[in-house]
């Protein structure tokens, strides 16, 4: 299972506590993880990436395994530790507010 950590506001919107666990078939990429996330929680569509091209929203970052994956291609395979469920994939609201 893929582990996904959402920012607090999106956990509230999706009505989930803690990590989300997702079944992702095939190669585990940012696109396939986010597709699975939005399929499970359709209210998150448009809040992380746009409705069409899947463009990451400007104030959203993607981290995993102490790496910033925000600017990686959506079809680049995620680290093995994420694919194996050992490490979570982090959806992060950009730090702001003092």
């Amino acid at each position: 299972m893929i582990r996904v950590v959402l920012p607090a506001h999106l956990r509230t919107l999706a009505q989930v506590d803690g990590e989300v666990q997702l079944q992702v078939d095939g190669t585990v990429t940012q696109r396939s993880v986010l597709d699975a996330l939005e399929a499970r929680y359709p209210m998150l569509r448009g809040t992380i990436r746009d409705h069409h091209g899947g463009q990451r929203r400007a104030f959203i970052r993607f981290f995993a395994c102490e790496l910033d994956l925000s600017h990686d291609g959506p079809d680049t395979p995620l680290p093995d530790a994420v694919a194996a469920g050992a490490e979570p994939y982090l959806v992060v609201g950009a730090m702001a507010g003092g």
Partner: protein, 371 residues
């Protein structure tokens, strides 16, 4: 006994305030959607239990929420607002072309006859319609694609479509207002539009009486007299007696004619309310005194309403969608401030009392009169 429900949108969530017809004891619930900006919450005239809310965030974008139990519980519905045609450009603040980009929903206007039909006014300016309770949205592109569109420019808050008025006498007539483009009218249910800004004069644009480019802050109409419109413009309070075809200034003896909201008494079409604000560079009341001004003559002659409102050291603002009236007898008037107060007057403005004092900055206030 009748009840009222006040729907408050703030910078950090929505609040629902309930009272009986006396309007002196209030039950406050919320925050709903805590931490998000709630630009507007409004109930359906066709089914008062159905509410719509615009929930936005610079981080996470737009969410539309729907309640079918008067705001006790909510469900996110559709948030896909796609312009129907290639958006093109409008003017940026410096006059250069700027891409038309969806930012947020400023105003939701449920239709009178159908709880599933609701209109949304958005930034960058566009008018959308849902006929399935907000699950899906389709633009009425005739407004955005008006030939003057490339000349529209944003006001300080963005290029927002903030006012939608559905004419109760003519189902195909819709008014919309955009900062800073002006007022527009459609007579064919939103398919085509014409600017209705004749008579407006605005400093700060190259041609003071241009067809478009005016920073209209708010329009108001009394449903019994739909051809009479009132307008709070950036500067100037205006009135039209011919459905917007022409306007005349009715600022009269106001201490300043800058402001944001304007509203009409529920039973007296000539009784109107504004909240004068010092200027566009001083967004607070003159002399630190929070005063609602009432005209019982449809403009020109105004009286200050001060009883119960702070008359010293008050430097809040009242935003364009943050005033509303109920339809009880006698008419209640409500407004919210950027300081987080929501004031209510159960006697048409003669006296005021705060319902709440310490909410986040209030963006919008609506009232439902319930039986």
């Amino acid at each position: 006994m009748s009840r009222v429900r006040v729907l408050v949108g703030t910078r950090k969530g929505a609040f629902v305030l309930n009272a009986d017809g006396m309007r002196d004891r209030w039950d406050v619930s919320g925050p709903f959607f805590a931490g998000w900006e709630i630009y507007h919450v409004k109930g359906s005239p066709a089914d008062p239990a159905r509410l719509f809310a615009s929930q936005t965030s610079g981080w996470f974008g737009q969410v539309i929420q729907c309640s079918d139990d008067g705001g006790a519980t909510w469900e996110p519905v559709g948030n896909q607002f796609d312009y129907a045609t290639e958006p093109g450009t409008h003017q940026w603040y410096d006059g250069t072309p700027h891409p038309w980009e969806f930012a947020r929903v400023w105003h939701l206007e449920p239709a009178p006859g159908d709880p599933d039909t609701v209109y949304a006014g958005v930034e960058d300016a566009g008018l959308f319609k849902s006929t399935d309770g907000g699950k899906s949205w389709a633009e009425l592109p005739g407004l955005r694609t008006h030939k003057s569109g490339p000349d529209w420019a944003p006001g300080a808050g963005g290029m927002c479509l903030h006012t939608i008025i559905l004419d109760p006498a003519r189902p195909d007539r819709i008014y919309a207002a955009i900062s800073a483009a002006g007022a527009f009218r459609s007579d064919d249910a939103g398919q085509t539009w014409q600017p209705v800004n004749r008579g407006l004069r605005s400093e700060g644009i190259p041609d003071e009486d241009a067809e478009v480019g005016h920073c209209v802050h708010r329009l108001a109409m009394h449903p019994a007299r739909p051809d009479v419109l009132y307008m709070q413009k950036h500067w100037d309070v205006m009135r039209s007696d011919d459905a917007g075809d022409s306007w005349r200034e009715v600022s009269g003896n106001l201490p300043t004619d800058f402001g944001f909201p304007i509203d009409v008494h529920a039973h007296e079409p000539d009784t109107i309310y504004v909240v004068p604000i010092t200027s566009d560079s001083h967004h607070f009341p003159p002399e630190g005194k929070l005063r609602v001004y009432r005209s019982r003559t449809g403009g020109d002659d105004w009286e200050p309403l001060t009883r119960g409102l702070p008359q010293e050291h008050c430097y809040v603002n009242v935003l364009r969608d943050a005033m509303a009236v109920d339809s009880l007898d006698e008419c209640g008037v409500y407004f919210g401030t950027t300081g987080g107060q929501v004031y209510a007057s159960p006697d048409a403005g003669d006296t005021w009392a705060p319902i709440v004092r310490d909410l986040p900055a209030v963006l919008s206030v609506e009232v439902q009169t319930l039986s």
